[in-house]
């Protein structure tokens, strides 16, 4: 088994991360979340998504959750109508990544309260912040659901207060007449 680092020919940067990217794709092929830990240009990103959704969505149920792809391995798991995909190197631990995916879903579930695809559609940015508490630089960083929930809630309240300030009519008028 070989190890391959992500090499982006355009930038020539050699990076070694565990998870190269995270994708959430709906059963109909709609993209619900993309997070890139290795450098990919916008064009490459679109291509990756197209290729992978072609491969993964056509796989039947009960097949294994790993797909070999361009020398990498993509670990995916379907929860209800959503496919959660993470791309790792050949010699990384697939089962561990499956656990990470499950963990992510559990945290989302806890945060949104029995999460469904619509939650992620309308709270797209929140899903990112949840993911950020789970992974950093392509590495797992937190394994307690409780802590993640607490951190996200605290951030949310920070945002809410700021928003209220900003969106008040008086504020807007003050801005405009400055």
């Amino acid at each position: 088994m070989r190890s391959r680092a992500a090499i982006n020919p355009k930038f020539g940067i050699v990076l070694k991360v565990m998870i190269h990217f995270v994708l959430l794709i709906s059963r109909q092929g709609k993209v619900r979340l993309t997070k890139w830990y290795s450098p990919y240009s916008q064009k490459e990103r679109t291509k990756v998504i197209r290729e992978l959704s072609g491969v993964i969505l056509t796989r039947g149920p009960k097949l294994c959750n790993f797909v070999e792809w361009r020398g990498y391995k993509v670990v995916y798991k379907r929860y209800a109508s959503l496919y959660f995909c993470m791309c790792i190197d050949q010699d990384d631990n697939e089962l561990e990544v499956l656990e990470i995916i499950h963990h992510f879903v559990e945290i989302l579930d806890r945060y949104f309260g029995s999460v469904c695809e619509l939650d992620l559609i309308f709270n797209f940015h929140k899903a990112y912040y949840v993911l950020d508490e789970l992974l950093i630089a392509g590495e797992l960083q937190e394994s307690s659901k409780k802590t993640v929930a607490r951190l996200i809630a605290a951030q949310d309240s920070l945002v809410e207060t700021a928003k209220e300030e900003a969106s008040s009519i008086s504020n807007i008028i003050a801005q405009a007449t400055k």
């Binding site: 190890s3 680092a5 355009k10 930038f11 050699v14 990076l15 070694k16 991360v17 565990m18 993209v31 619900r32 979340l33 993309t34 890139w36 830990y37 450098p39 240009s41 916008q42 990103r45 998504i49 009960k62 097949l63 294994c64 959750n65 790993f66 797909v67 070999e68 010699d91 631990n93 697939e94 089962l95 561990e96 499956l98 656990e99 559609i121 309308f122 797209f124 940015h125 990112y128 912040y129 950020d132 950093i136 630089a137 590495e139 797992l140 960083q141 937190e142 394994s143 951030q155 920070l158 945002v159 700021a162 928003k163 300030e165 900003a166 969106s167 807007i172 008028i173 801005q175 405009a176």
Partner: protein
């Protein structure tokens, strides 16, 4: 200003946008582009809230719909500096999503990052860390190293662990950061906070994968964690790290094998168990007991219902297989059953294991069963199977093939599998074997004939490449053919109009070779039968054609003239036209005599042959494809010439040498030209061609395209008097004797075909040849796969357990190999400068000689190694091009008549060289090689010297006492 208020008050929120997109499903693109226009306006707003909403929408569109947002980079930077956390959050998300190394405004973020990393608000710090971990550039990494350093020992664990994770990115961008931060990173291995420890192990795991050697000194730390930790995530990382370190230090391997086995036995977590298994089979394969335990665990995985575990089990087995074949044997039923699994990935994995097991003694059986299996599989997997058989069998110049007759037949059989799409590879191997293995040629010609003669195959475009190879082989080695006339008919059948022009050209050229062979054999036959009784007429006839000799000489420099019908008409005006007509008439009356062919080359059969060719190729002489046209015209020209002389031959059953007839000589010469051996050409043959004076290789090669294009034009039927006669006189083929056992099946196909198309293949029919033939090889009845699986089980039972090599009746035929690697030269290895720098820095820190090497010295090291890299590239360069443009050392190079037409694209050449010359050349090559190798050696030395300082450091004892 007014518009700004309007924007603020009536701006669509992200939610509005999402709802809008969902409502306008059908007109999504227009809706999105309209929204983008709104965003472009809104984002310029002075109101930060409006700006932030616009940016949030843009990020959404970019992340999910692939919209380009690089144009908004500056607005992102603006918003990052907002004091409101909500804005900052949106801006950092946008930056993490859209910035990359080439985003120049990222220079402007340095200050903002510094401010936020030092912020008292842990959420701001965390935002900055997240973004930094993705978009850090060398510049940012260098500037912010002090901040990250401070955060590494943050009192808040939630920040500390993030800083630890980010360090990986910092090191990759700015290796010198290791001099500052590495010690503190190591301290985190002793952190009381489990998350920080986990993050640190994650970082070390990734670092160790890249460059394990540098982290050997930390082995005691890792060992302590391996033994003490109860956290599965951490343990997986620890096991992984030791998987990298153990191969470097045997004592370390001895030490860790026990705890790893312990985890393998006891842990309930499948992920940890699998990591242990994988580590044991990849890195600790010498420890018999550990491997045994691992194989037991693999077996558990294999029989599990969970397809994930099954897949991983198969993968682990693939790794064990080369060193411990018994592990595969123990599990062979499972492996073979997996070949019919529902999951294509699992099928593929088990196919890989099977191919790992292939060896000389079982290749035939495994291939047989796999081919049968392929027939029943879906197209994709079928081609996977064929592909792996082809690559396994051709490995190292057909290393594992003992019986080439078998293998060639297998290739033929594979071509007939309905889903076969491996035409290119099979084509290559057929020709390659033809050139390398003399003993296989007879079988090659047989297989080629069977392929050519089957009209149904022509309808399958995937087979065209194979047919091209079959045609080439049949033409080149026609002396092995049982029945050249039949071959000729196959090559000229009307359905070849289905082939692409390039392949039809090969067909025509092969037909030409077959024709020359037939004529030559005919003449030879006559010569032996009607030996001496020469009539006085012969002497008279000599004086009749005074121009013949000069015509042949003319052929040397311009062969076209000879074959130009008009020219030949002029020089042989006296040949009686009456007789020619006569003969054609008589021949038309004897149908099918050509195909009898058993006892060979009668006058009638030759006449028939000529007619057949004329009728079939006549229309092609007007083809719009130059290759076909030119080759067809060459053949027709020759035939015309022969037809005029043929009557003379009939009448005077005598020694035509003295009759002064021209064509026997021509035939003789062309036959000689065609019977020269073609050999394989080394991929680096070009290297040996001396560069002619005045040729500048580094010039722009664009202009060459025209010249190279010309090269592809046919220069068929070229021959010259200048070359020495072939060493090898091919007489009548020995295969003639055994022609009785001609295969019945395809002959009957041909007969059927003849019935369909009448005696002669009329040109008018060509256009309306329809695809009414049944597809090649209808898939056999779909037997159920289980039967086949059973078959396979049986197979391996026999072949794998059989330890002894069976005695082969036939010794393995000689396979021509070239001295200097057949494979394309391996590209020069890239130097990973940054990594070198990083490991250098890490070693310096770990071994405590920071004082010695400063970043300055590293810089010079970098530049020198860069230079070395360049040098290497230059010296390796000439081995790059594979194409052989011309014959080495041929004095006639450039003279069109010396260039023989090649079956294009197969990159081989006919060598017109005397043996002595060859030997001399070999000597020269040897010398060159020596020079080269010594040169390489020198280079290597100098590199070692240059890397001296680093190496000296690493040579010091790395593993502390605890191991000893």
């Amino acid at each position: 200003m007014g518009s700004s208020i309007m924007d603020s008050l009536f701006q669509r929120s992200l939610e509005d946008l999402i709802k809008g997109i969902r409502l306008n499903l059908l007109t999504e693109p227009t809706f999105i582009s309209k929204s983008t226009d709104d965003i472009r306006r809104e984002i310029k707003s002075t109101d930060l809230h409006t700006k932030s909403v616009a940016l949030q929408k843009l990020t959404y569109l970019s992340a999910l719909y692939g919209l380009d947002m690089s144009w908004a980079a500056f607005h992102v930077v603006e918003l990052m500096s907002s004091s409101a956390f909500a804005h900052k959050k949106i801006a950092y998300l946008a930056a993490a999503h859209s910035f990359h190394a080439a985003t120049d405004v990222s220079l402007l973020t340095t200050h903002q990052f510094r401010k936020d990393l030092n912020s008292a608000n842990p959420f701001e710090v965390s935002l900055a860390l997240h973004c930094f971990s993705i978009i850090a550039t060398p510049h940012l990494a260098r500037e912010l190293t002090p901040e990250i350093f401070t955060l590494l020992s943050s009192s808040k664990p939630s920040i500390g662990k993030k800083a630890v994770a980010v360090i990986l990115r910092v090191f990759s961008q700015y290796p010198d950061a290791a001099r500052v931060c590495f010690k503190r990173l190591v301290e985190n291995l002793e952190s009381s906070d489990p998350h920080t420890l986990s993050a640190a192990m994650g970082v070390f795991c990734e670092l160790a994968v890249k460059d394990p050697k540098s982290y050997l000194p930390l082995a005691p730390e890792f060992y302590r964690i391996l033994v003490d930790s109860r956290n599965n995530w951490v343990l997986i990382k620890a096991v992984k790290i030791f998987g990298k370190l153990a191969p470097l230090e045997p004592r370390l391997a001895m030490r860790v094998v026990e705890p790893i086995c312990e985890y393998m036995r006891k842990t309930g977590a499948k992920s940890l168990m699998f990591e242990c298994v994988r580590t044991v089979v990849t890195s600790l394969a010498e420890y018999e007991s550990a491997v045994k335990l691992a194989v037991v665990k693999i077996r558990e995985l294999l029989v599990d219902d969970d397809s994930n575990l099954k897949y991983l089990g198969l993968q682990a087995l693939t790794v064990v297989a080369p060193k411990h074949l018994w592990a595969v044997l123990e599990n062979k039923e499972v492996v073979i059953k997996s070949l019919s699994d529902a999951d294509p990935n699992i099928k593929l994995e088990s196919l890989r294991i099977l191919m790992v097991m292939v060896s000389e003694r079982n290749v035939a059986e495994i291939s047989r069963v796999l081919v049968n299996y392929a027939i029943k599989s879906d197209p994709e997997f079928c081609n996977e199977i064929l592909g792996s058989i082809l690559s396994a069998c051709s490995r190292n110049v057909y290393e594992i093939i003992e019986d080439f007759d078998w293998y060639v037949s297998l290739l033929g059989e594979m071509s007939r599998i309905p889903h076969c799409q491996k035409g290119e590879e099979i084509e290559h191997q057929l020709i390659d074997i033809g050139m390398r293995v003399k003993d296989a040629r007879l079988q090659l010609v047989r297989v080629g004939r069977d392929l050519l003669i089957d009209p149904a195959l022509l309808g399958n475009p995937f087979l065209h490449r194979i047919l091209s190879a079959a045609a080439w082989v049949s033409g080149e080695y026609v002396e092995f053919s049982k029945n050249p006339f039949e071959l000729m008919e196959a090559l000229l059948q009307p359905r070849i109009s289905l082939l692409p022009p390039s392949i039809r050209a090969v067909y025509v050229q092969s037909a030409f070779k077959v024709l020359i062979f037939c004529l030559h054999s005919y003449l030879f036959y006559r010569e032996t039968i009607a030996c001496s009784p020469s009539s006085p007429d012969n002497f008279v006839s000599e004086s009749k054609c005074p121009g013949s000799d000069s015509a042949i000489v003319a052929a040397d420099c311009q062969q076209d003239e000879v074959f130009n019908p008009r020219a030949s008409n002029q020089s042989f005006e006296d040949a009686s036209t009456e007789d020619v007509e006569d003969i054609t008439v008589t021949h038309a009356q004897i149908p099918n005599s050509a195909s009898l062919g058993k006892d060979g080359f009668t006058h009638e059969s030759i006449g028939n042959l000529l007619n057949l060719i004329e009728v079939a190729l006549g229309p092609l002489s007007g083809s719009r494809e130059v290759e076909i046209q030119e080759r067809a015209r060459n053949v027709l020209g020759l035939i015309e010439l022969i037809k005029q002389e043929l009557p003379g031959l009939v009448k005077k059953e005598g020694n035509f040498e003295r009759e002064g007839l021209k064509f026997p000589k021509i035939i003789e010469l062309m036959h000689d030209a065609f019977s020269k051996e073609l050999g394989p050409v080394a991929a680096n043959a070009q290297e040996r061609v001396p560069i002619p004076d005045g040729l500048i290789l580094r010039e722009n090669l664009g202009d060459l395209e025209m010249i190279c294009g010309n090269d592809q034009l046919p220069t068929s039927s070229s021959f010259s008097f200048g070359i020495p006669h072939s060493k090898e006189k091919v007489g009548l083929p020995q295969s003639k004797g055994e022609s009785s056992e001609a295969s019945t099946e395809s002959t009957s196909l041909l007969a059927e075909h003849r019935k369909l198309h009448g005696l002669y293949y009329l040109p008018s029919e060509k256009n309306d040849v329809s695809n009414d033939y049944p597809p090649a090889n209808d898939p056999k009845l779909q037997d159920n796969l289980n039967d086949d699986a059973k078959d396979l089980v049986k197979l391996t039972e026999q072949s794998l357990l059989q330890k002894k090599k069976p005695n082969h009746a036939k010794p393995r035929p000689v396979v021509v190999k070239l001295d200097e690697g057949d494979e394309a030269p391996i590209a020069a290895k890239k130097l990973e400068l940054k990594e070198d720098l990083l490991s250098g820095a890490v070693r310096d820190v770990l071994l405590g000689n920071e004082a010695v090497s400063t970043s300055q010295s590293n810089l010079t090291d970098k530049s020198s190694s860069k230079r070395r890299g360049k040098e290497k590239l230059n010296t390796d360069h000439p081995s790059g091009p594979k194409e052989v443009l011309g014959d080495v050392g041929n004095p006639n190079m450039g003279n069109p008549s010396s260039r023989r037409s090649k079956h294009h694209g197969h990159g081989k050449e006919r060598r017109h060289r005397s043996p002595r010359k060859k030997e001399k050349e070999r000597e020269e090559n040897g010398q060159k090689d020596k020079q080269k190798s010594s040169h390489r050696h020198n280079r290597h030395k100098s590199r070692q010297r240059a890397e001296g300082p680093n190496n000296v450091v690493t040579q010091t004892p790395l593993i502390p006492d605890f191991l000893l």
